[in-house]
């Protein structure tokens, strides 16, 4: 996983609440066996007409937001299906940070597994950042995970909270499985104890 330290880039404003993972990547694009290549289907219903042509009014079809690396939205971003194709599609498009007042739990978890930083900030702060983002290419927003701040184009720094363990993993691009396997002896012990206590859970 690619580490996330500091990101400075164009932010796309998406002032919508309850953006669901079916909107982020519709189910018909889930028939894939790889993680890559989903970026062109990101927000497919918003980006394309049924005939496949682009909808010019959608933000990601406009300059400079085609090159957006940050997305700013409203409440409950990523609700619905658990599909990890949602963060894969965002990442493949080039988005590595989503800022919103709140996120759905599964999507929030899935982001960290893919080097995407989800930042929770109050609604009024998100609205300020959305106004910044509307200024376009001259208004770069910086997200500094090391210092846990979002820096507005005017230099104002907005601190954000993040779980220290997740921050650590993201900063260093750490693989969860490798870390968990360091606890293999504890898993063995748990299984041995559990097998005695609740034998019906073992052996099918």
């Amino acid at each position: 996983m690619k580490p996330f330290t500091t990101l400075s880039g164009i932010a796309a404003p998406l002032p919508m609440a309850n953006v669901d993972t079916d909107q982020i990547i519709p189910a018909r694009f889930l028939k894939t066996i790889t993680r890559s290549g989903l970026g062109r289907h990101l927000f497919a219903h918003f980006r394309y007409h049924p005939d496949g042509s682009e909808r010019p009014d959608f933000v990601l079809n406009q300059e400079p937001y085609r090159r957006a690396e940050i997305l700013i939205a409203h409440e409950n971003f990523g609700c619905g299906s658990s599909r990890e194709h949602a963060p894969w599609a965002l990442l493949d498009f080039g988005i590595r940070c989503v800022i919103a007042p709140s996120f759905a739990d599964i999507f929030y978890n899935n982001c960290f597994k893919n080097g995407i930083l989800p930042v929770r900030l109050p609604r009024e702060v998100c609205d300020k950042l959305i106004e910044d983002a509307r200024l376009g290419a001259n208004a770069r927003i910086t997200v500094d995970l090391e210092r846990q701040v979002v820096v507005r184009p005017n230099g104002e720094e907005i601190p954000f909270e993040i779980d220290p363990f997740r921050r650590h993993c993201l900063l260093h691009g750490l693989d969860d499985i490798g870390q968990t396997l360091q606890h293999a002896a504890a898993i063995d012990n748990y299984e041995a104890r559990r097998r005695a206590e609740a034998p019906w859970l073992f052996g099918g």
Partner: protein, 472 residues
């Protein structure tokens, strides 16, 4: 370890599964059952292969195909869609290589993963159960801690049989009193979502309790727990009781003999202790719940069938007003329009929310001796091959077919628009599934969520209808 503090059902199951607590409070949580399907697993197996890892507990894992497959006879002659075929073949290659038990497409036990888990006794009270699908919350109906995970977590469970998790907060939703005629578990859960909103349970595990929940059969409890995710909660659960135990007993993978007695004693210790603290509590009066139907594009946009489409002009909050207008435009509805005046094109009875034998009986009871309205396509998709078989033994398929319903093979079907069962742009569907998101059932499709009995009534009426006027 003695702990005098009264604990919730969730607290107990959580505590029994903590392998280790890391310094920052993250738990390494042991997973008892891992259900795998074709759509969210290919990249996980690929990750294992790339790292040279094996599946730690194939005996705790089972795979089935459900999401992308056709639900007509074409499945018997091979999968025609090349992408779907590749995904199913990839699963078959992966389960063979990693030694994971698998229920193939043409096995009579094949079905929607959240229907077959409880049906086969793979899902048991007190278990931790995960699957790469958000509706894994369904299995919480058995008194298990069951939640959906992403593909990276699927890989993590395959490799380690554990997950890194922070404990959730406890929320209780009590539904007291008795449901009125024509109202079902689906109406309960839609009413709950309407009350607390689609983010109402975020960060929490919901325990459903109260007289109306206790009175539900297991299928109804599964319907309620299934839509916990639509209320924002990763998991929903219901304390195991005699209804639960009677359901589990004798199922193929359920414990037997002495193991059954031991398991039963353990399961009886699980319900929340008197005085256990919940971080959040909501109470609903079952008697005040009417048959419900959604009008918008989020499950929280729900009203009693006697209601009318709301007017955005009456909404004070400008963001909410704009959102409502967008929903009405997408749904092709007018403010003030009576819900019972909304004509429908398609009826879908199925999905992990409502495709069990009880759901099909409820639909057949309304359909019996009546006809699907002219121009309406109505389909019934059983949740599993075993549900289908039982329904046919009970003659339900005949009743439904005589009324003009299609009777199909088991699968996720028209719930999610990734197999041949899809809405066409602009088509309006009365659906027993769980999500009315834009494009969920097919690009441009319009979804109204409701119960199986309400869906059957809509099929007969050719419009959304009050099931109380269509009693058997």
């Amino acid at each position: 370890m003695a702990d005098a503090r009264p604990r919730t059902l969730f607290d107990k199951i959580w505590a029994h599964h903590v392998v280790e607590t890391l310094p920052d409070g993250t738990a390494l949580l042991y997973i008892d059952r891992h259900l795998v399907h074709e759509v969210t697993s290919p990249q996980a197996f690929e990750g294992l292969r790339a790292a040279g890892r094996r599946v730690r507990r194939p005996d705790a894992t089972i795979a089935v195909v459900d999401h992308n497959i056709a639900t007509d006879d074409s499945r018997r002659t091979g999968i025609t869609d090349p992408e779907s075929r590749l995904q199913v073949e990839t699963l078959e290659r992966n389960v063979a290589e990693f030694g994971v038990p698998y229920i193939p497409l043409l096995d009579e036990r094949q079905g929607i993963v959240h229907v077959i888990g409880p049906e086969l006794g793979l899902s048991l009270p007190g278990m931790t159960i995960v699957c790469g699908d958000s509706h894994t919350s369904t299995h919480g109906a058995l008194g298990a801690l069951a939640f959906g995970i992403g593909t990276s977590e699927v890989e993590h469970v395959l490799a380690t049989q554990t997950l890194l998790q922070k404990p959730a907060k406890n929320m209780r939703v009590r539904v007291e009193g008795t449901l009125a005629l024509g109202c079902t578990a689906k109406d309960i859960v839609l009413a709950i979502i309407g009350k607390i909103g689609t983010a109402g349970g975020t960060g929490h595990v919901i325990e459903y309790a109260g007289e109306a929940i206790r009175a539900l059969d297991m299928a109804g409890r599964m319907t309620v727990c299934n839509m916990s995710i639509e209320a924002g909660a990763r998991a929903g659960m219901i304390a195991p009781d005699e209804t639960t135990f009677a359901y589990v007993k004798g199922r193929p993978y359920a414990p037997k003999g002495e193991a059954w007695e031991r398991a039963l004693a353990y399961w009886r210790s699980l319900p929340s202790d008197p005085g256990a603290q919940f971080d959040k509590e909501v109470v609903l009066d079952a008697a005040s719940i009417a048959p419900m139907v959604t009008w918008g594009t989020s499950p929280e946009d729900v009203l009693p069938i006697t209601g009318s489409v709301p007017d955005p002009a009456a909404e004070a909050d400008p963001a909410r007003r704009a959102r409502m207008q967008r929903m009405l435009d997408y749904m092709g509805l007018q403010p003030g329009q009576k819900l019972t005046d909304i004509p429908i094109d398609v009826v879908f009875i199925g999905s992990c929310t409502n495709s069990r034998i009880e759901d099909i009986r409820a639909a057949a009871a309304i359909a019996k001796g009546r006809k699907v309205a002219e121009g309406v396509r109505a389909m019934v998709v059983p949740g599993s091959g075993l549900v289908k078989k039982q329904a046919e033994e009970e003659g339900l398929d005949r009743i439904l077919k005589e009324a003009g319903f299609e009777w199909r093979e088991a699968g996720c079907s028209m719930c999610l628009g990734m197999n041949p069962d899809k809405l066409k742009p602009g088509q309006r569907c009365a659906s027993t599934s769980n999500r009315n998101f834009e494009g969920r059932q097919g690009p441009g499709g319009r979804t109204h969520l409701l119960s199986p009995a309400m869906a059957a009534a809509a099929a007969i009426a050719g419009r959304l209808a009050d099931v109380r006027e269509y009693q058997p």
